[in-house]
């Protein structure tokens, strides 16, 4: 830990749970809440338009530590925030006789875009100073506004479409390309061209060892391109603070940079590395960085393993034919 508080804080666990959700007063099936993933999915086909959501919360605090410690006027607050809209909704929870804290947090659809984060803060009077933060929930919950499945999103979108006559007309320009990687938007998308004879069937198929090995090489190639494109997009989109220091992005860009930077600049801490790539892009030296980026992308795409497997399978195949 590299953070110091000027007053004593809680060390015990603070756990948060969403027990029920109502959209405009109508309860949502429990299947749209995942306690396991700590995710709530709010998009219902039957009710795509709603104004107000109410989350019923239950929080367990380290009560014994609180009772014995130097904290007075303890308050437990839930906060729902979304970085992209800067929206913030809060609720004060009440302590029940059963020993936990509960309450409801209400928020409005128009204040949010896609994904909000829900956490709990414990405030108390310490050393005569009121309203000090003395603890936060270990893990926050994610509230997905456009999702129907409550799961932590970890994969890119893969979109299978015919580039010649699909709904996205811009893809028509790429109609002879087997795939295109798009990095704008909420989540990057790999568009696979179903109009490219045999490509999608091959990728989805089974088959002999050689066929599987070749499929692995092809998938690695697509993935390496996607990772390179995502890295470039994430670095290109960086925003700087007043002192010209780049800020950590949110969403997938955060994940991509945290995953790839240690391979791109292994001798720098991750924040120094972010500064470094930003400087290379704005002040020169970006070209020298390209092999490092390709290397980092190839590692994510497991290119070395897939190429080795492919070559081995083909040489075996040649031998058996003899």
């Amino acid at each position: 830990m590299n953070t110091v508080f000027p007053y004593p804080v809680l060390t015990g666990d603070i756990t948060l749970e969403v027990t029920a959700v109502k959209l405009d007063g109508r309860p949502l099936p429990l299947s749209m809440i995942s306690r396991d993933h700590k995710v709530v999915a709010l998009h219902e086909v039957e009710r795509s338009r709603w104004d107000e959501a109410r989350l019923d919360l239950r929080v367990v605090l380290p009560e014994k530590e609180l009772a014995d410690g130097p904290w007075d006027d303890v308050a437990c607050l839930a906060a729902l925030t979304e970085a992209s809209t800067n929206a913030r909704a809060t609720a004060r929870l009440r302590r029940s006789d059963a020993g936990w804290w509960s309450g409801s947090l209400v928020f409005h659809r128009d204040a949010h875009l896609t994904r909000a984060s829900l956490t709990v803060a414990v405030a108390a009077t310490v050393d005569g100073e009121s309203g000090r933060l003395v603890g936060m929930a270990e893990e926050s919950w994610i509230v997905e506004l456009d999702e129907r499945i409550p799961a932590r999103k970890q994969e890119l979108n893969i979109h299978e479409t015919d580039f010649r006559n699909g709904s996205e007309t811009w893809l028509q320009t790429f109609q002879d390309a087997p795939w295109v990687v798009e990095t704008t938007g909420d989540m990057p998308t790999v568009h696979l061209n179903t109009g490219f004879e045999g490509l999608v069937d091959f990728l989805n198929g089974g088959g002999a060892p050689v066929e599987r090995a070749v499929r692995g090489m092809l998938a690695a190639q697509i993935a390496a391109e996607a990772w390179t494109a995502m890295f470039n997009a994430a670095v290109g989109d960086l925003e700087c603070d007043d002192e010209g220091r780049p800020q950590w992005p949110t969403g997938w860009r955060d994940g991509v940079l945290r995953s790839m930077l240690p391979d791109v600049l292994p001798d720098l801490s991750i924040s120094d590395a972010l500064m470094e790539v930003h400087l290379r892009l704005t002040e020169g030296g970006w070209q020298e960085l390209q092999p490092r980026i390709q290397y980092a992308a190839a590692r994510r795409a497991k290119t070395p393993k897939n190429i080795a497997n492919g070559l081995r399978a083909m040489s075996r195949d040649v031998e058996t034919e003899r």
Partner: protein
């Protein structure tokens, strides 16, 4: 004496027994009374009953009080009338080195609790009141132990124990160990199992229509009162003897219906030893403690006796109140599984076993009473060590208990919208007609399926408990093939009578499922019984039912639909952005802050002590320490240092830290410049980092 009138024996039976006890012939009595022998015969066979004045004469002839003739109850016996009776060895020379049924069970306290309590449930007397079972562990030592052993006539059976304690067979070794421990520690552990509101051990000492005989004389006899009974007295009861290191169990029963004109304090002791030889005489091993039988053909065996309060108390068998039921006292109790050694551990194991096996029977709706109430108490020489602990199913099985009580209260919902809710669905069971029965069509029974969220620290989530009858658990199935990320749950299936329905379909289903159970009553499967009792296709019905219940669970717990996860799997796997959660962490290749401590001084400046972890390398490192105030969002404002003081393995030059080559750790101290604080120091958190030296 209204009660006595209701309970009194037939005059004939009573008279015959009195004559036998006195070894007095009918003609001798006839002579004494100056009546014909035929008249006495008519009385003993019940064809006629003497007039009241004649009865007084009979009393005088027998030498009993007139009152005894009027009440005609069996006599309460003094301890001096009691004896141990050992069964002689089989005439064919066959020797038994243990009870075969005992080997079928693990002599485990949990198994004992399950079997004994199930037997009590099956013997419920008043269906409107709960069956109460009470387990009492008591350790006896010193004077208390001696008084108990005296009452038991220990000196009489001791030579038999010693003759049986041999290392030649398993049972002998267990007895030897029991005796050794008793001598060495001068203590003996008793486990008492009481049930109340149960039938009690009714019926004569011998014969078919007797619960007493079924429990204490026969082996493998299942004599149960109701057709819904699971388990079997025959097999289950043996766990009582298996739990005793000495193979010794004493019984006191309060009967629900009078036997020999009495209901209270029917006592008996049964000892199960292996074949042994003592003083040149061979014994089969079985022994009974009671009154010496005088009935023709039964001479030399022990029969149950009606005891007085003092004897009952000295044998530690006294029961509470007049509620019918039975108390079993296991002498020399132990947990053969070995995981419960101390009194405390045995106490907890019993509580846990009762909760795990009978949570359903102990659960009730708001307006009803449960079928079972259970408690465990631990004593030492009559003093309370752990006070009576009522087994609360909600503590041990919170999720399942919640599911069942929601159903009983009519609060289960079709679709859960809250984690505390219980979802209900119905699983159809089509019961085929029995062979040769008038009913030719299948009966359709709806089993009740309940699902609720598992408790947070549930170590065995995603299970389906299947019950029937008086909500006994037949089996616990693991539900597999669940969609990824399904939240942990517990499910309960109530079938047949367990649904609470009294409809003919429920009875038919109950019967059908019972037939599909193997002798252990732990599965619903194709049994031979099923094939012989029901028309063709019965096996398939059971298989369908098993399949359908799992499907129904998946529907209740699953997400409502599975959205097609886009794209080829081979590609998806390579495109996961999960840097935070997976992948082996590589060692850092640059200096990192390992730990910061600090406080705000009187001037308002932050004083921090920082420990740094350095990767091993031959060149020195140069890094700039930074201090920033933590903020909720946006960039953290940087603070300048007023002073940097080098600690271990480093030096400071113009605000840059130079760490020594080859060192793996370093430390420094810093004081912040108060004028650079955007807010008062004591109102902010400080984050200390290292940046590449510039």
């Amino acid at each position: 004496m209204v009660e006595a009138t209701d309970q009194r024996q037939d005059f004939g039976d009573w008279l015959e027994r009195q004559l036998r006890l006195r070894r007095m012939t009918q003609s001798a009595l006839a002579e004494a009374l100056e009546v014909t022998p035929a008249a006495v015969s008519a009385w003993t066979t019940g064809r006629a009953e003497p007039r009241e004045d004649r009865k007084r004469a009979i009393a005088a002839a027998l030498g009993v009080e007139e009152e005894a003739v009027l009440r005609r109850a069996a006599q309460v016996l003094p301890p001096s009338a009691l004896n141990w009776h050992h069964r002689p060895a089989h005439r064919d020379g066959g020797r038994e080195f243990g009870n075969a049924a005992a080997f079928a069970f693990d002599a485990d306290l949990a198994v004992l609790a399950r079997e004994a309590t199930q037997n009590s449930l099956d013997e419920q007397f008043d269906p409107k009141r709960p069956v109460r079972v009470r387990y009492t562990l008591e350790e006896l030592s010193g004077e208390h132990l001696r008084a108990f052993l005296d009452a038991l006539q220990w000196d009489e059976i001791r030579p038999h124990f010693e003759a049986s304690a041999t290392d030649r067979h398993k049972v002998g070794r267990v007895i030897a160990e029991g005796l050794r421990e008793m001598t060495e520690s001068d203590s003996l552990l008793l486990l008492r199992v009481d049930d109340y509101n149960c039938t009690g051990l009714t019926g004569p000492d011998y014969g078919d229509d007797s619960k007493f005989a079924a429990v204490l004389r026969d082996q493998l006899n299942s004599h149960k009162g109701r057709s819904t009974a699971g388990g079997s007295y025959g097999l289950g009861k043996i766990t009582l003897w298996a739990t005793s290191r000495l193979g010794l169990v004493l019984v006191n029963s309060t009967l629900s219906g009078a036997h020999e004109g009495r209901t209270s304090r029917r006592l008996y002791g049964r000892l199960e030893l292996p074949w042994h030889s003592k003083g040149g005489e061979d014994f089969a091993g079985l022994a009974g403690f009671g009154e010496t039988d005088t009935e023709p053909g039964r001479e030399g065996t022990a029969r149950s006796w009606w005891a007085d309060e003092t004897t009952t108390r000295s044998l530690r068998l006294e029961r509470e109140g007049r509620d019918p039921g039975t108390s079993f006292l296991i002498v020399g109790a132990h947990d053969a599984a070995g995981d419960a050694q101390t009194l405390q551990e045995m106490h907890e194991k019993l509580v846990r076993a009762l909760a795990d096996n009978f949570w359903a029977a102990m659960t009730s709706g708001r307006d009803s009473r449960p079928v079972l109430e259970a408690s465990v108490t631990t004593l030492r020489n009559g003093n309370v060590v752990i006070p009576e602990q009522r087994v609360d199913p909600a503590v041990h099985q919170p999720a399942r208990t919640r599911a069942l009580s929601a159903y009983l209260n009519g609060e289960a919902v079709e679709q859960r919208t809250d984690t505390t809710q219980v979802a209900v669905a119905y699983v159809p069971l089509r019961v085929p007609p029995e062979k040769g029965a008038p009913r030719k069509e299948s009966a359709e029974h709806n089993a009740v399926l309940l699902v609720t969220a598992a408790d947070d620290n549930d170590r065995e989530p995603n299970r389906l408990v299947c019950m029937r009858g008086n909500r006994m658990t037949v089996m616990t199935r693991r539900v597999t093939d669940l969609p990824l990320g399904t939240d942990a749950f517990q499910a309960v299936l109530l079938a047949g009578r367990a649904t609470g329905s009294d409809a003919p379909e429920a009875h038919a289903a109950e019967q059908f499922l019972r037939t599909s159970e193997p002798p252990e009553h732990n599965d619903w499967t194709k049994t031979e019984d099923l094939v012989t009792s029901y028309v063709r296709g019965a096996r398939q019905r059971i298989e369908d039912f098993r399949k359908d219940m799992l499907v129904a669970v998946r529907v209740l717990v699953g997400r409502r639909e599975r959205v097609k996860t886009g794209g080829p799997a081979v590609l998806r796997e390579l495109l996961r952005i999960d840097a935070h959660t997976t992948g082996a962490r590589r060692p850092d290749r640059y200096p990192v802050v390992r730990h910061v401590e600090g406080s705000v001084d009187a001037r308002g400046a932050w004083n921090v002590r920082v420990e740094v972890k350095l990767p091993r390398r031959t060149d020195p490192w140069s890094m700039t320490p930074t201090a920033r105030f933590e903020v909720r969002s946006g960039s953290r404002p940087a603070i300048s240092w007023a002073k940097l003081i080098a600690g271990e393995n480093c030096r400071v030059e113009q605000g840059v830290l130079h760490f020594e080559a080859g060192a793996t750790s370093a430390s420094f101290e810093g004081v912040t410049e108060v004028s650079s604080h955007p807010v008062t120091g004591r109102m902010a958190r400080v984050v200390v980092d290292l940046q590449k030296g510039r």
